[in-house]
């Protein structure tokens, strides 16, 4: 069934890929920066590409912070992607001193160890046993920073790049992915479909 998907226009994101992924499934996509639309829409996507600080500054500048926090608190349907997921957290070592949305009690840090950074490519995702949206599979990642461990109150699926990190968080109708479901082939498309139909 065709649904309306409202995508937050964050300025720096790969919006065309996100839009194309939903349109391929027959959904109508609307890009917006209007806080009221973000507060009231049935389904909202918070994409993200770029630095934590710049992305957060954009949300503050457009007055989108309260609407996004409210959506998570009220369990309204939300999909946060890549830096979008990181923005839900308290802070990131990428942009010291910048406060995130803080609805996830976690702190983002850079990949450690001997691995190449950024992580650019496909990696195994191990779904949490109680995950409703995420299933185990292979997802496309493009990130230098990550949430190192699960946060209280969230169901965390994991992946490994020089150590385990959080690949996705979910709680109720809210799904946050460090990977790019819109670029993760058939597996990612199926995940998007589960979120659209199930949230």
């Amino acid at each position: 069934m065709s649904r309306a998907i409202v995508v937050v226009r964050t300025g720096t994101a790969n919006l065309a890929s996100v839009r194309a992924a939903f349109e391929r499934q027959g959904h109508a996509v609307e890009l917006t920066q209007d806080p009221q639309r973000v507060a009231e829409a049935e389904r909202v996507v918070l994409p993200g590409v770029g630095a934590f600080g710049a992305s957060m500054a954009e949300l503050v500048d457009k007055g989108l912070v309260p609407a996004l926090i409210e959506r998570v608190r009220k369990n309204h349907s939300l999909l946060a992607i890549c830096v979008g997921m990181q923005l839900l957290c308290r802070e990131s070592s990428e942009s010291p001193g910048v406060r995130g949305l803080g609805v996830v009690d976690g702190s983002i840090g850079r990949f450690g160890g001997q691995v190449r950074v950024p992580q650019l490519g496909w990696n195994d995702v191990s779904a949490a046993p109680d995950a409703r949206f995420v299933q185990s599979g292979v997802a496309y990642f493009a990130n230098s920073y990550r949430l190192p461990e699960a946060s209280a109150g969230w169901t965390a699926s994991t992946a490994n790049h020089g150590g385990e990190f959080v690949a996705a968080l979910e709680r109720g109708n809210v799904l946050a992915c460090q990977f790019h479901p819109e670029l993760s082939g058939a597996w990612g498309a199926a995940l998007l479909a589960r979120w659209v139909e199930g949230s």
Partner: protein
């Protein structure tokens, strides 16, 4: 664990896929969107579109190509060829690219790398380097090899990454189109010098060549003619690599 990407490359001119032998002697190889969709179905992990058009009309066609490929593709798309400003990178990202590669313009003014990385993130900024052997090392060449820059490839790769490049697309000018295998020493030297992913390009004729590149230090491999010619599918190559111990997405 992270997998090795197998990346078919579509060299496009005036909106059509062409195939280059030492960047010369082009022949038509089909519609970019059709080929990209075919490769995704075969298991490609990413698609690179390099625009080699020389005219404004050709460049506009390239933008339409990016849009058409994006509509089809649910895997990452990197676009490059003649990108000479962060604004132009933005136009390509808006059209549907996920990453943008810069080559000659960055050699001319390396600040373009910082401009793209700071605006769109370093995972978006690919430095494409064409390397020609010179003495004991390699020299950066641009403009299909016509311009010898005098720049050392290793030093340039380091500088580009310090300025914000998130991966290196490393093409051996000497091997490109020769079907004699990648320049393995070049791959080893650059992968030892920087800590970002290294995509090997130039010279592949069979799956064994791809495996050699990975063993030499490349994290990912790009090829064009072996796939365009239809000798091997992406799936064939991935099966061979998996059978020989490489981590690939099957």
């Amino acid at each position: 664990m992270l997998k090795t990407r197998i990346i078919p490359c579509l060299d496009c001119k005036d909106g059509r896929v062409v195939k280059g032998v030492r960047f010369q002697e082009l022949r038509d190889a089909g519609s970019p969107a059709e080929l990209a969709a075919l490769y995704e179905k075969q298991g490609a992990d990413e698609i690179v579109v390099l625009d080699i058009s020389a005219t404004t009309e050709g460049r506009n066609a390239a933008l339409a190509t990016v849009r058409a490929v994006r509509r089809e593709l649910s895997i990452p798309l990197t676009v490059g060829g003649g990108v000479d400003s962060a604004e132009q990178a933005g136009v390509l990202l808006d059209a549907g690219a996920d990453k943008v590669s810069v080559n000659s313009a960055a050699v001319k003014d390396p600040r373009i790398i910082e401009a793209i990385a700071s605006r769109y993130g370093r995972q978006c900024a690919v430095i494409a380097i064409d390397a020609a052997r010179k003495g004991e090392g390699w020299e950066v060449v641009t403009h299909s090899g016509k311009n010898r820059t005098g720049k050392d490839v290793i030093a340039w790769a380091r500088e580009a990454c310090e300025r914000g490049a998130g991966e290196v697309l490393l093409t051996s000018f000497d091997r490109d189109g020769t079907r004699s295998g990648y320049d393995l020493e070049l791959l080893k030297a650059v992968s030892d010098a920087v800590r970002v992913p290294i995509i090997a390009s130039g010279g592949a004729a069979n799956a064994a060549h791809l495996l050699e590149a990975l063993r030499a230090g490349a994290t990912d491999v790009l090829a064009a003619s072996i796939f365009h010619d239809g000798d091997l599918t992406v799936a064939d190559v991935k099966r061979y690599l998996a059978d020989n111990g490489a981590r690939v997405r099957l």
